[in-house]
Point group: C2
């Protein structure tokens, strides 16, 4: 993708974050169900916010880049005419959103379908007004500032000093997944649940007092596609549980603050 087109796409990604953020903010911490919804539809607030935010992003993509495809959480996918597709998750972290905790995020990715290359990724947090932006081959930024992550180039950390995090233990569904998660939990010094996409932002930012491992399963493409350029653009590593590049069929994700830690975690996963 040439420089000029990439610049346009980055601009669009920022616009998508702006327009979806405006809608999501209106629905955050609103306990009262809108009148048109059934009282029994308990998750309706989040569903409505999710759909409205997605629709406004889809409309903008159709208008500005009509040949781009769209892979999304809520509605039907739209085929790409140029090999590029946007991968959208308006509210990643439904439980946090539902609880009124501002650590969910809007995930906006752009992928080169032919080469399975995530070209750019954005995690937007509309309440905290925090935006993490990764562009393939460039340094990841956080609110337009480059990131200084002390764990990325420090390969001395053993896995036992890392913080292991997963959104919920309920995402480990098969006995194999549960066994792998349990093995890693025993090695790492701390296990923390919750967090959703903000675990990956935290890993990229180096906010933690120790390096980080994120181990997750039962994910969809839109749950992690946008995270790949963000983590790689800071020097971290993100793959599937076999150490392979993630693709649209992947469901198991392993991310680490640096490649050395990633390899140590992989060794535990693969029992080597």
């Amino acid at each position: 993708m040439n420089h000029q087109i990439l610049e346009l796409k980055v601009k669009l990604a920022n616009k998508l974050a702006d327009v979806s953020g405006d809608i999501i903010k209106k629905h955050f911490r609103q306990s009262n169900l809108p009148s048109e919804t059934k009282i029994n539809e308990i998750s309706s607030i989040v569903t409505i916010a999710d759909r409205l935010a997605e629709n406004v992003m889809v409309d903008l993509i159709k208008k500005e880049c009509p040949d781009d495809g769209i892979i999304r959480e809520e509605g039907e996918n739209i085929d790409s005419k140029n090999g590029h597709a946007w991968v959208l998750d308006p509210i990643d972290g439904t439980s946090s959103f539902v609880k009124g905790l501002p650590i969910f995020g809007t995930l906006i990715g752009l992928v080169d379908l032919d080469n399975n290359l995530p070209l750019l990724g954005c995690v937007n947090q509309p309440i905290l007004q925090e935006r993490c932006l990764g562009i393939r081959g460039k340094a990841t930024t956080f609110n337009q500032q480059t990131i200084n992550n002390p764990y990325v180039n420090n390969y001395d950390y053993p896995l036992k000093e890392a913080c292991l995090t997963s959104t919920t233990p309920l995402m480990f569904i098969t006995p194999r997944q549960q066994e792998i998660a349990s093995r890693l939990q025993k090695v790492c010094s701390r296990t923390a649940f919750g967090g959703d996409c903000y675990n990956y932002v935290s890993l990229a930012m180096g906010w933690t007092a120790m390096p980080m491992i994120v181990l997750e399963s039962d994910l969809k493409y839109y749950d992690f596609c946008a995270l790949i350029p963000i983590i790689e653009g800071v020097g971290g590593m993100i793959t599937d549980w076999q150490g392979n590049a993630l693709n649209s069929h992947s469901t198991e994700v392993l991310a680490a603050s640096n490649p050395n830690l990633h390899q140590q975690a992989l060794n535990i996963i693969l029992n080597q």
Copy 2:
């Protein structure tokens, strides 16, 4: 406690939240370990922030109310000379703090020891600048505004429409606790982990799109003392797993958006 003394204590609680918040803010999202700490002391950032924030609160209590006792997380307790004791947890939600997620909180409670009555409770979130304040017999406030929680007076909600939340499944240690948690998870429509004290704030505020249950175990007095006046002051209910009033020896906590939901959850816990 007469009105004038209570007013002084509320003022002090707010001051304690201010001074501890200033310190905690300085240490939030700081990945680099201070030079005086050992590199192996992986949790040192949070430990240091915890201790410094606690010390500054203890100093202020000693100065302004020297007869009050102090029950605290980090240092040694201080005996009460007048039957009142402050119950302090500078950073409740260590994992969130460590990950750089602003959903931890400083818990500040004041208890009448002779009658086991929590007189006031404060959850302060220094990053989000959110302060929830409960005073026994008064309406709970959030940033000085009274709370409009739609679930408190609506007893129509069945337990299956509630959101069940616990900080981590790892807090259910005994087979009995695990079995009870699992039983409640099967009944409630949604289970969400993570959140720490912010789950209780969310319950009090009615931020969720559905009523809420918090089920936790393996807690210390300073983990929940401050939450009691907050939840009760909004019309919610918080007890131990037998339905009894919480005291300094309690470790198992059940909170619900209203007494009806609380009873339904209690019936599941007690297998009735």
